[in-house]
């Protein structure tokens, strides 16, 4: 088997979660690669929508920003910022959104706002951007993140984007139309969420990884699915296709 980097592995595993004809709200970098990989493989009819209002982009290079001009030339459609959020996101037109953040907790709440207190920040992060809007309105949230103790925390310092808050019951009370967190994909494992409690749960281990390794890198005692699976190793086709998407390894370094 060709050696893959942790980033490559995560992109390949994430791409497998995408189904043909789904509509994906795509961010730059890793999520963009995952969506494009799925489109080249099992999901040729994937609809890609960008936060900047571009729909069905056909980029000729790797975009650095979701507002890159290469996402515009040759796109299918473009609308304004308010329209993008109103017609596509609030309109309930998006199946899958990718989110990331500095911290994520066991109910899938994500912090991309601040480390420390809001009014006296230790580290001030960029903030929600569209993340909270995505979390509130798409059917499935997928998080791709390196599995590190500082990222996985028992309770986030700030809920920029609500996950299941402190459990499914609290989530239901919010009355949001979104489906909430769906999967967290790391270099060590894939986690999904307990249907009843909304707690994060390891469902598959990446090739060669043990559940102990996962637990060691997570500060709370992780739930594990009754039937813990092994992620099938990346195929040569997946690897080759992915590498053709980012030949200069801007994101796969």
């Amino acid at each position: 088997m060709t050696d893959v980097s942790p980033s490559e592995l995560m992109v390949i595993v994430a791409a497998r979660e995408l189904k043909d004809k789904e509509t994906i709200l795509v961010g730059v970098g890793i999520p963009n690669l995952a969506a494009n990989l799925a489109k080249k493989l099992q999901a040729p009819g994937l609809n890609m929508v960008y936060e900047s209002g571009a729909v069905g982009s056909n980029p000729t290079r790797m975009p650095l920003s979701i507002g890159d001009p290469c996402l515009v030339t040759g796109a299918k459609s473009i609308c304004s910022m308010y329209e993008q959020f109103a017609y596509y996101l609030q309109g309930g037109r998006i199946d899958v959104g990718f989110l990331g953040g500095a911290q994520i907790d066991k109910y899938g709440n994500i912090n991309s706002t601040v480390i420390g207190a809001y009014k006296t920040p230790k580290v001030r992060l960029p903030g929600s951007g569209g993340a909270c809007d995505i979390a509130s309105n798409v059917k499935k949230i997928i998080v791709i993140t390196p599995h590190e103790k500082r990222r996985f925390v028992e309770k986030v310092d700030f809920k920029s984007s609500p996950g299941f808050v402190d459990g499914k019951e609290s989530w239901s009370k919010l009355g949001l139309q979104g489906g909430g967190p769906y999967a967290v994909i790391t270099n060590l494992c894939t986690m999904k969420f307990d249907q009843q409690t909304g707690e994060m749960m390891v469902v598959a281990l990446q090739p060669g990884v043990t559940i102990e390794q996962v637990q060691e890198n997570t500060p709370w005692t992780l739930k594990v699915a009754d039937k813990l699976e092994s992620t099938p190793a990346p195929t040569e086709k997946e690897i080759a296709t992915l590498r053709s998407l980012d030949p200069t390894k801007i994101y796969l370094g």
Partner: protein, 305 residues
Amino acid sequence: MMSDKMMTMKEAVSRYVKDGDSIYLAGFTHMIPFAAGHEIIRQKRKDLTLLRATPDIIYDQMIAAGCAKKLVFSYAGNPGVGSLRCFRRSLEKSIPKPIEIEEYTHFGLSGRLFAGATKMPFLPMRTNIGSDLPPENPLIRTIKSPYSDEVVSTVPPLNPDVAVVHVQRADVNGNSHIWGIIGEQKDAAFAAKKVIVSCEEIVDESVIRSDPNRTLIPDFVVHAVVHEPWCAHPSYTQGYYDRDNEFYMQWDDVTKEHDTTMKYMDEWVYGVEDRAQYMSKMPSSKILKLTPKTAYSTPVSYGSV
């Protein structure tokens, strides 16, 4: 081809941007009017409330230069790169001075501008609830729908004192054709009390009238028209010049310290008279690299009866 709205950026800023104003330099990644920001810095405006979904490098510069009293925003990052260090320095260490913040989600802030542009009393929206943002921002409220028991979030309209909107082509009265990512260009123009349009090209009114669906901003909401080629660099203007991604990446280094930031500012902002001088300092290799090949739209016929 003249009108009393045509003026230089220097005149436009001098006439329409006052100390203490709230200002919206529009553009979601695209067509960010850097030339206007630099002119505001040169004219030493202060106590400004800076409004933008994505403060981007332009507001990072204005914060470093001490123009800002407050920032109203939804994503204060360097897109694709990481932090905005001047913004962070102000919040984390009060360097050069502290600024207040008022924070929204993208939908919330673009919604505020839309509500301002269309004079809605408030905008109900499906977001915010469950996040920790509303407790920190008392302007994000909730309301019960008159049609169900649903409780949803609301934001109030936003009406900046001044908006600066860069566009591809405008006529001398400010009728503006815009394409590519259209972000909040139209909403900013309709929401603001005073509107400065800057453009890559001044075209005859007949060019505008050949494609009225492309005109997102009509002349009568515009107060000043500035012909300012390359206004948006290091941001971009679709069809005119590419985004200077290299600059966006370098900004992270440039702003490592307040001193290094101000060194940049001395050279590229305070050290030049206007955008024309800024561009003439630019290596020609950079300009050549950023100039795109053409890719024309297939025309449409409006028909003549």
